[in-house]
Amino acid sequence: MQSFRSEIENPIVEKDILELERKIQLFKEGKIDEERFRSLRLARGVYGQRQFGVQMIRIKLPFGKVTSEQLHRIADVSDEYSRGRLHITTRQDIQIHHVSLDRTPELWAQLEKDDITLREACGNAVRNITASETAGIDVDEPFDVSPYADATFKFFLRNPICQEMGRKFKMSFSGTDDDTAISFIHDLGFIAKIKTENGVAKKGFKVLLGGGLGSQPRHADVIYDFLEEDVLIPTIEGILRIFDRFGERSKRAKARLKFLVKDLGVDAFLKLVSEEVNALENKIVNIDTIAFEQPISFQEVVIPQINIDNETAYQKWKETNVVKQKQEGLFAIGIKVHLGDFYTPKARLLADLVKKYAANEIRLTLRQNILIRHIRAELLPLFYVELQKLGFANAGYNSTADITACPGTDTCNLGISSSTGIAVVLEKVLEEEYPNYLNNKEIAIKISGCMNACGQHNMAHIGFQGMSIKVGNLQAPALQVLIGGGILGDGKGRFSDKLVKIPTKRGPDALRVLLNDIEKNQQKEETFLEYYDRQGKTYFYDLLKGLSDTTNLKPNDFIDWGHSENYVKAIGVGECAGVVIDLIATLLFESEEKIVSSEEAFKENQFSDSIYYSYTSLVNTAKALLIAENVTTNTQAGIVASFQEHFVATNKIDIDGSFEDLVYQIKNENPTNAFANKYLKDAKSFYKKIDTYRKKAVSHV
């Protein structure tokens, strides 16, 4: 258990891992509050799962980029600490399950040897930054967005402004107007753009704000048609600061940025962001793209002679799974990974293959697949044969038959009915009865086990969502059928209509009814969405309504896909966010911790960080006292206003000027040495004042 301690080279990472180990120990000894511990472990990628006593670990892989060495490392870690399965998520992470909590620090230390982090993979933080998997190789892209995704990831990792926000924060980068990174469903979505001014071509982004799926989807608003690349990071920073201060904290279901943007309105929100400009240490942040512009290098290899047995199958595979790159003579190969699950022996063989014959890099895709980049034309037959041996050469990459599904009731606490089970069955229906859909890249089918939409079912052309239905005293597993969503491009998209709820065992029939109807009535020149719009929602509702009848269910209808026993509804509480911490002592203790962090950052000349820690300390301290007097709060801004009203205006607490003036120095002052020093002193003296007040109050009880 101790062996990993000496092996970590980066002192910041070492500190993180040792802290996790220490907090696990304190938690086991009952010395820290369970909820508090939960939010700490979540911010380090350690999640609960449906099975008691074990953890799901989410490995954060910015824009899905993985080298051969990293894939080997992840495979080793999965074998050692998990069960050898790797699950690719729709946000380009890898999840492994059934990990013992005690071993998570050691696991993390192992991953760090190849620069892989768990930090802020879950919890109320900036989650993995996603990007189009074709970034850097796409024939249509104006430029490679990878360095921007990478810089954004690095800038906000461990940044004090976004460690304990009201809710999680997701960002995506699309390389082209096809918007494959789905910007309209992200808190912040970026689409690469070039703008030519006075003959100079500038790189920048179209920016979308406040989108999201979940049970109440919201289409993001365009806030900039063109934001220049050097203000990308300062813009994100301003938005995160406002989200941290004004974001809802007590009502978890209303805490995502989309609700704040909806409540305030886009203009008012952006006005608040613009008022943060003084607090930013860097008004301009230039992003270094050089590391991503190096020549592509290959190992020197003899290209083996390959015989293709079945030329037709090979051609079909090339047609559906091979993508031409913008680099002359190079190709990318898509691997259709069934449900995003693959296993370590194959992962290692793939890693070796990619190292020897490609350019040592794969990208995990947003549709839970793998894209190998930089394959020379003459090596395509070799890859076909080798991938076939691994079962990785099935045709239909990114096709209708390439169904996206979250893990659902297999491992997730929140799942209502099986998503993977129905996905397997539907893929079979497509392969056996509708093989032409292996070639269809227009219609996407996506499935989530519950309304939280990790499988993105409510933006798919055809979506299914896990549900349950009551039939007398019994519960049957069910699916909601949704139609009509999709990416329209350039930041626009559609959410699907919820059509009808059917017993889950009728899922295949629902798909058959739909596809048969399309085949019969869709006109040649019509897209799927045009056809859907022409017929209208009611038409499809009527088409499927017959399947919703529950008066004629058979015993088998009460058993979910992939199960042999009757369905039992078992839904836990989500923990992707830590619960609001309302313990006075915990809050005060944390305020002290923030002051220590502020001092440390100050000593390192990290003034902006120091200031933010002081700010958080001020807010936490005020909150502790408000809670002690039963004043409820739901945002940081609310805490500041309430504290002024209840304690300062009433002269219970004596400070110079108002509490607002004290706290909001943060947005009026530049992050200088002098201000950081003063603000730290302010935070300390405020803490001391409150601590004294509190001790007095408690001693009177």
């Binding site: 939280n452 549900m467 919820k498 839904i571």
Partner: protein, 115 residues
């Protein structure tokens, strides 16, 4: 009948935006008669009770999403079936035995709210 949300509710919020009458609220949230309706000022409800349509009313439930029976028309006048029940992932929006109304009464309520 109005629809009621039972304690099986998982607080997912899927029902809330579906309600054509803005009769559904998150647990512990104050609500008003005028929200999502054309009611204004001092009004007399169909049952004769006088209320201020613009005044905050106490939440019906502190723990789960709830439906204000006075604002629920079971989607009569809007949809073929109650939309909350149609989208509820755990089937916990059910007819409320304490508020049994005929189709005429529900349509009259719909008129009262929106005319």
């Amino acid at each position: 009948m109005a629809i009621i949300i039972t304690d099986e509710c998982i607080n997912c919020g899927a029902c809330e935006p579906e309600c054509p009458n803005t009769a559904i609220y998150e647990g512990a949230v104050n609500w008003k008669y005028n929200e999502g309706t054309l009611l204004k000022g001092n009004i007399k409800l169909l049952n004769g009770i006088a209320v201020d349509a613009e005044k905050n009313q106490e939440p019906v439930s502190d723990e789960y999403y709830f439906i204000v029976a006075d604002k629920c028309t079971e989607c009569k006048g809007f949809h073929e079936e109650p939309q909350c029940a149609a989208v509820c992932p755990v089937d916990c929006c059910v007819p409320d035995d304490a508020h049994i109304e005929t189709e005429e009464e529900l349509l009259a309520k719909q008129k009262f709210l929106h005319n």
